[in-house]
Symmetry: D2
Subunit: 355 residues, 4 copies
Amino acid sequence: MSYSFGNKLSMHVFGESHGEVVGVVVEGFPPGIGIDEPLIQGELDKRRPGVGRLVTPREESDRVSIMTGVLNGKSTGAPVTMMIRNTNAISKDYEGFRERPRPGHADLAAQIKYGGHHDIRGSGAFSGRMTAAFVMAGALARHILSSRGIGVTAHITQIGDIVAKERKGFVDGSPIKCMDPSAAERMEEEISKAISEGDSLGSKIECIIENMPIGIGEPMFDSVESIIAHGMYSIPAVKAVSFGAGFEMSRMRGSEANDEYTYDNGKVTTLTNNNGGILGGMSNGMPIVFHVAIKPTPSISKVQKTVDLEKRDNAEIRIKGRHDPCIGVRAVTVVENMAAFCIADLLLRCEDGRT
Amino acid sequence: MSYSFGNKLSMHVFGESHGEVVGVVVEGFPPGIGIDEPLIQGELDKRRPGVGRLVTPREESDRVSIMTGVLNGKSTGAPVTMMIRNTNAISKDYEGFRERPRPGHADLAAQIKYGGHHDIRGSGAFSGRMTAAFVMAGALARHILSSRGIGVTAHITQIGDIVAKERKGFVDGSPIKCMDPSAAERMEEEISKAISEGDSLGSKIECIIENMPIGIGEPMFDSVESIIAHGMYSIPAVKAVSFGAGFEMSRMRGSEANDEYTYDNGKVTTLTNNNGGILGGMSNGMPIVFHVAIKPTPSISKVQKTVDLEKRDNAEIRIKGRHDPCIGVRAVTVVENMAAFCIADLLLRCEDGRT
Amino acid sequence: MSYSFGNKLSMHVFGESHGEVVGVVVEGFPPGIGIDEPLIQGELDKRRPGVGRLVTPREESDRVSIMTGVLNGKSTGAPVTMMIRNTNAISKDYEGFRERPRPGHADLAAQIKYGGHHDIRGSGAFSGRMTAAFVMAGALARHILSSRGIGVTAHITQIGDIVAKERKGFVDGSPIKCMDPSAAERMEEEISKAISEGDSLGSKIECIIENMPIGIGEPMFDSVESIIAHGMYSIPAVKAVSFGAGFEMSRMRGSEANDEYTYDNGKVTTLTNNNGGILGGMSNGMPIVFHVAIKPTPSISKVQKTVDLEKRDNAEIRIKGRHDPCIGVRAVTVVENMAAFCIADLLLRCEDGRT
Amino acid sequence: MSYSFGNKLSMHVFGESHGEVVGVVVEGFPPGIGIDEPLIQGELDKRRPGVGRLVTPREESDRVSIMTGVLNGKSTGAPVTMMIRNTNAISKDYEGFRERPRPGHADLAAQIKYGGHHDIRGSGAFSGRMTAAFVMAGALARHILSSRGIGVTAHITQIGDIVAKERKGFVDGSPIKCMDPSAAERMEEEISKAISEGDSLGSKIECIIENMPIGIGEPMFDSVESIIAHGMYSIPAVKAVSFGAGFEMSRMRGSEANDEYTYDNGKVTTLTNNNGGILGGMSNGMPIVFHVAIKPTPSISKVQKTVDLEKRDNAEIRIKGRHDPCIGVRAVTVVENMAAFCIADLLLRCEDGRT
């Protein structure tokens, strides 16, 4: 079941980039919760292509249809099915990738694994468009979190060489979802430059989950880190996931890395948060903080070296079509909602008196 | 099932650090495979405490007992149960951690999640000693890989500020499993220094999986990255996992990050390996390369700030007992064998003609 | 994941009787298989209400839409999503069942379990209409079986007191899917009589799976019997499932019950088939034979005793609406296709060289 | 994971009949529950061979060792591992069954599925002895049920042609676990007769689960019926499982089969219990009642026809060794404890406020 994810709350994703729909069935959603459809649509809108000059000009209305599991605005306890239609697909751009696999894409492995039967139009089920399903599922999961006061937000901390130094203002106010206005400006310039050169940019995202109760996360294999990393690596283009100080931990000493405890207004808290709110795989009450690296969009218009699998010879490829110059910008919403889904699942798993 | 991991090949871990045993049941291991018990013992020995002055002086013989699933030296197809006995435990060192949680440890969250009923002796089921189960399961899984020529090796690339620059020699020849002899020497000095100061050190490990067939890994949620990261984050002290260029991807351009294809002696290969051998979540035939950050051992003998949960007041703690100054050194074997397990599971999942 | 079933091949069911759709996502369906949409539609048609005077007059066109996973008539390896629309629902019939639960229905338990938030229109997700999803998934699974020559058929062997004695002719030729024409005639009379009395009838179905390879089915918990019984008991109204001689085994002696082996034209076969083609949970090459009991449709128009949960008092109920007098007739198709799904999943699970 | 069963509470079974041990790892057992080891031992004793003249003379002490998950007599929340040692095995009796498969046994299918690598000594992992693991897991699960007042009992209702008419006295008082003393006497005679003839007897068991809360069981695939039947069919020799009136439902009318509701002392109850306490897959508050058919022990000392797979010719077989004349007698304990496990798992699954 590799298109399924989650335990107590689970999602089953279906669809293709240029097929009829992209959708998701969410199982285990509790009954009696008022469903805020505009909230789900709002999250989809943030991820949607075609908003602003910095993302792909492919336009999709991406209107969510809630097909099942909701009656009179409330969840029934039955599976919640949500889908969006695909309307603006230009599939002919993708012909030829079976013989000449695009560097940085799934083409070569998929060709061999599926014997050429996979849907390659718009990258089919390997498309970044599939992450709309993650956003719908995550936006639904947020309903569980918000009633408990848990908030999940993500923002861009790096694009190319530009690193955000500050966190201020609302991330949603920024077209590139960066909280450092000065860095954001330079990031936009960098993106424009990449566009003009037919190239793309990598990026880094920080995600923060606040107001976590203590003890969420299961021991050993279903740690908060394992579950979130599993979810994050399901997002195409993610190549690194770290918690708290992450790789910086490698050069630290224990006396520096350990987060010492103290009472703060009668509540146990830590003086630092190098462990990113997670110890022994469980939440320790501090904000959960993690980072992901998003690789540059592999589809670039520059000529690239590839092979021709038919002719069994070296070849060149120039990719046409409409592509984001920096997928990280849209990935912010995906990261955020996938994280919300992971936490909601872990939360439901321990709501039987064990936490 | 949070003590269980894997799909076609799965492991179920049981035991506690200071209980009777640490063990694992491996399900789905194919019948008729000759079991090389010395190989399994050899992997356990590499992870074993008490070997050399750079690791904890706790001594355990850690002799593997294969209890089930093997008959006349060959697997039968039934679950393979392996266990080691705990013999050298000093449990009184751990008293008091229920009231005064150790910084950097699971104590606080576990106390709340389990209502104080968890086994805290030697950190119980949260102990790094549980990773012996991962090593046994992974060493068994290597039997599946080796018959297909797939090799998995890991080595230390950083301890504190010392970074390995070269890869030469065999990692097993080095007491700290670093392939750069000059860096290794300085790392040993750094560890000695940390010991003398009652402190500990973080580290970084690189793992390489060679001779991968193309198309291993399942789409979306069971990508090679998702499965390996899930497994890695089940190892206590891992705080970061990245593939290929990892976080470096954030500052790259697509034209730099994309691994261009070429024919090399009639075989499709890539000119670079920034994607760490994985595209679209599937192996692309290049070596799988990933890095993990291991935090410094949280148990240090320096005095640390903590809280007293009984008195509801701030407090101090000085941790006694025997602890590795740099758990990364022993984690190399754990990373390596956990990776072997993940790949073996993914391999068995696609051996139905789909790859 | 209680709306999900299967391992290597899995189905995720969604929808409600009177909502927009009833559908299913099938994961793990192999790529490159030509999809015979008329076959799937044909199975749905057999289950469809409104065909013939002996079933409910509710009419639904039940046209299958294959939304994902199929391209140019062939499976792609991505999830296959199929759905039918609900068009002829009269939901007001169901008002009042929250307070006055129908005898023989899920109403009382659902009211308590879901706090009254479940969709009760047409019995919502508890409706027999949900079995259309099983039929679609099973009809898809038949594609896997038919290429291996495995056939699955079911037929009515009993309705009320009428027991079929013979097996001749095609079951599809009979409006009540009974292979004994003389019994079938009496069964039709019995059904007519039950209709006229506002009552309903129980029934018994036999299902036969022919041309099974030896060794299908997994040991212990995923035996052929466990998996088929699990699937069958997911069909509303099934109250008994037995294999081979079933309860008759209770009164047999070993010398009678054991199926002795013999060579028949160079092939190992058994002289009897009391074990219904399954030994040790695995197929032994003989036809798999099992029986299910289907309870009488609980919705009858006779006045019945119930309680009024609001008034906390005894009450009466007379159920209106359109209901099958003998759901067993339509259940034949459901049993058959659910069995096909179970066998296809077990078959894919052992196609890695272990069988 | 076919040696694993359960969701929130799960068991992982390992071992072989003539290997070192038979054991089970139980995951998901809540922390802080006092473990009554004599209770677990008591259940094992009831299942134990060698007690009384009516069962196999193989003697095993079957002393349970609780290896992990329990500290100072209370559960810790970590996996609970229990095992018994095998001590009285005579493996040579089983030689030859690879070439000449025993009628009614797994031999033929296992030989093909495992390529002859399975452990055939004492039937290995296919042995009825493996059910000791079910008993240990179920006896542990009873701790969860008993604190909620839920009781699970089973008894013999039929052996051969002898049918129990009454239910009186305690089942544990009867050597053959039949509550009808007069029938029990005749059953004992019947068994003696079968022994003297080198034959064996089938039987039927009834299991009753009392004091069920309403709403236990998950919709569709994880109904009470699906889960219990799945568990029951994992017990070797079970060939039929029915709930409530079972196959009798086939001949009933709806007006007879429906269990009408009434208030009884302020509590909703039903006037009959034809549905065996389950409606829509969920408990309705009435006792859960189900029946299983146990086939006659396939190992009989009479000469039987079989084939010689080496010589590819017909052959005869006479099975030596020590075997129960009627396995149903010992299966009573297995049925009872497996049912307890199923119900405990379903109970834990809905203890998050949804029931």
